[in-house]
Symmetry: C2
């Protein structure tokens, strides 16, 4: 790799999410640069729609696009399937898990973030988070299996356990998951079963702080809560989780006071959408470079999104704490990563041309979250008071924005057809239980106490 | 289950493939019948397009439809997720793997078939067959990983191993898989890699007998062979496989003579599409009923598709040997199962009304196989000599037939869009490597001998 590219500036981009994708795209326009894009997966994932795969509305292939085909015509881009595990900042070289070292002149770290179990990693087994395609198909399987098991369970108490779904975390992912669950139970599956009524499902959204969607203005949070409740979702704020096992969630009541009482909620399906933690490679970068991080492990970058002590290392998206305004960081949304990626690509090109590089300026395009069918909330500051909508208008805005940002024109058409179809038929056609196909064995009734 | 349905005739259908689906559909029209459809999966799979999932052209959800939503409005149909394992023919009761017994008045066995490794079940690990969605995503992963590994492999010999693909079996599945591989290597991935040229891939189709597509007329077999060769596929007939391991396939040369020489073909990706073997439940039915089977385990049924000694047990599709003409059985294609399912549904309804039941008459609608892009062969007897086409016309026919038989109107639109898109862009957008994400570790070069 070194020999053939000595003449050109070698940029290694780690991570093919929004940040890495847009950085690579910008860099690919310069013939002075040679880019190597490293990802553990061979595709770019449109993460904002991942919950739609988890809830059976879309198929995995419809929200993912192979990285190789995205950059097929950019001959200065090499896509490499591999996992970056460590970095030698002095030698300017990263190492992959299977050994191949790759030299760089500039490194772009765009490895994103995972959900964090706040030190209880054993909960992950009972309460999967939603970050990858495999997570999404696993969660889809759990949701569908729960209804199937309830249909076959005669004991009312155990049936109720199967029919209880708890979503932990009231951020956008938690709200969208809970909304989709409400829609599945009350609409999609309404007439699919014979022994149970899916509308009897109990869906709880539990959140440790006092409101859902904490990055939105308070009235938008209240609107989201009302819309969730209209879908049959019980929203419990100030309710931190203290324990999870395979049959229940234990939460603090009394507003979450440290010495408050706890309540055990019997539930077979618990989904995790709380906390944030960076990936192993971002940790390795922090350690090798000595760069400071916040408590989630995110690297603290300067106004040009580079590490202050290592201007040749940029960090973008969820792996970074990027300065914004009034001391607040850029929010961890797709737009933050997209704008960061574009900025870093432009900045590297400017540096090579010897031009000055203005600091990163995040333009807040606003947020939009969808809540089940035909409802949602928006917070779009630059539209003034028209940007704070709810209900159907929010849903329409969400639709337009997500379709326009989908990578791959075929995906755009297919997703539009699917959505239009679901809209008119109330259906979700990607409800496949793949992987382990079967139900857990039906248990013998417990002997009376 | 017994109490609520004592008044109605209870039919249990095991298997939600083409046979079970069409039988259930026919039966659901009669209010005198109560149907329980049991399947290990919660969806009906459009099996003829499974190879398109394995080769990245379609997403799993696009060729599958939840059984519950298909029968949502048929209130006399109960769908049960479960695996039928045994049957008590005297008590007229089947048992599921998790214990639930289900009583029947009439049983319809529609459990299909698997590929058979001819007694070498250890080969399955190295050479997966293509029968389920999970098989398809596994095969897709293997094909894509092979190109990724070749891209990163510097040693020319090991690179060649990664770039060699062997398909075992020259029936429709083998021909369609080999054709799709030819298209992937020469067209889809053509410009995706930097170190390798995917067009250098070696694709072999090996078949034990003297021609591919043995159920077609000889001139159609020859046409299919020519079209495969045009796509860069090496077709080797009279070449039985004698051994498979993780790095090679060993075949007999000299026309497959018993004492002939063998040749070892180094190849990392071997796909299996040969032989036929029934499922465990069909075996259990044969054992419990004492019904005769052929050597693949298929149950031999009478002219009404029931077991001669047990007229209340019907067997349809690939699990049965159904009489046809001149001693030949109904071919193991979707049409055979669809027509058998419809016939059995009608026959049960006629019996309940006390009407005479004519014997099953298979109407041969003909066969069509597609070979890569824009090519294929057809054999449609009732169209006379116009039914024996090849090339583009065959491909068009195939397209129309498969779209019209897809279950679920949304799937029809989505698949049409995908295909139209692939046609114009030469792309396959569902090229996701899911499951185990990473390449096998790069090996150290072997020391010179």
């Amino acid at each position: 790799m070194t020999a053939q590219s000595a003449a050109r500036h070698r940029v290694v981009v780690v991570g093919g999410g929004f940040g890495g994708l847009y950085a690579t795209r910008e860099l690919s326009r310069s013939s002075a640069v040679e880019v190597t894009l490293v990802d553990r997966r061979n595709f770019h994932l449109f993460q904002p729609l991942l919950y739609q795969v988890a809830t059976g509305a879309l198929a995995p292939g419809e929200i993912a696009q192979p990285l190789r085909s995205i950059f097929r015509q950019r001959l200065n881009v090499t896509v490499l399937l591999g996992e970056a595990v460590s970095v030698d900042v002095a030698a300017r070289r990263i190492v992959l898990s299977d050994g191949g070292p790759i030299d760089y002149d500039t490194l772009v770290v765009a490895t994103g973030a995972q959900f964090s179990y706040f030190g209880h990693d054993d909960w992950a087994r009972f309460a999967p988070g939603l970050k990858s395609i495999d997570d999404a198909t696993d969660i889809r399987r759990r949701i569908l299996i729960a209804f199937e098991a309830a249909e076959r369970e005669a004991d009312p108490q155990r049936r109720a356990e199967w029919m209880t779904f708890v979503v932990v975390g009231g951020g956008p992912t938690g709200v969208e998951l809970a909304g989709a669950l409400g829609e599945i139970a009350n609409d999609t599956l309404r007439r699919d079963f014979r022994a149970i009524n899916p509308g009897d499902a109990r869906i709880l959204l539990v959140e440790a702080i006092d409101r859902v969607l904490p990055t939105y203005p308070a009235d938008r949070s209240a609107s989201a809560r009302r819309q969730l409740e209209r879908l049959g979702v019980t929203v419990r704020t100030k309710t931190p989780v203290v324990a999870i096992d395979d049959r229940s969630v234990e939460v603090k009541v009394d507003g979450g006071k440290a010495d408050g009482a706890t309540e055990r909620i019997p539930a077979r399906t618990v989904l995790w959408a709380a906390g944030v933690r960076v990936s192993g490679f971002a940790h390795a970068v922090a350690e090798a470079s000595g760069a400071p991080t916040d408590k989630a492990g995110r690297l603290i970058v300067g106004p040009d999104l580079a590490l202050p002590a290592h201007p040749e290392i940029f960090v973008i998206g969820d792996a970074a704490v990027e300065p914004w305004k009034e001391g607040r960081p850029v929010p961890g949304v797709a737009q933050g990563a997209i704008q960061g990626g574009r900025y870093v690509g432009t900045t590297i090109r400017r540096r090579l041309r010897g031009e000055p590089t203005p600091p990163f300026h995040y333009r807040d395009l606003g947020d939009v979250a969808v809540i089940g069918r035909l409802a949602g909330v928006t917070n779009i500051p630059w539209l003034g008071r028209f940007g704070r909508t709810g209900g159907f208008l929010a849903w329409l805005l969400w639709l337009g924005i997500h379709i326009s940002y989908l990578i791959g024109f075929a995906n755009r058409i297919v997703v539009t057809v699917r959505w239009a179809w679901s809209f008119f038929t109330h259906g979700r056609s990607s409800r496949l239980i793949t992987g382990q196909p079967l139900l857990p064995p039906i248990e013998e009734p417990e002997p009376p106490a």
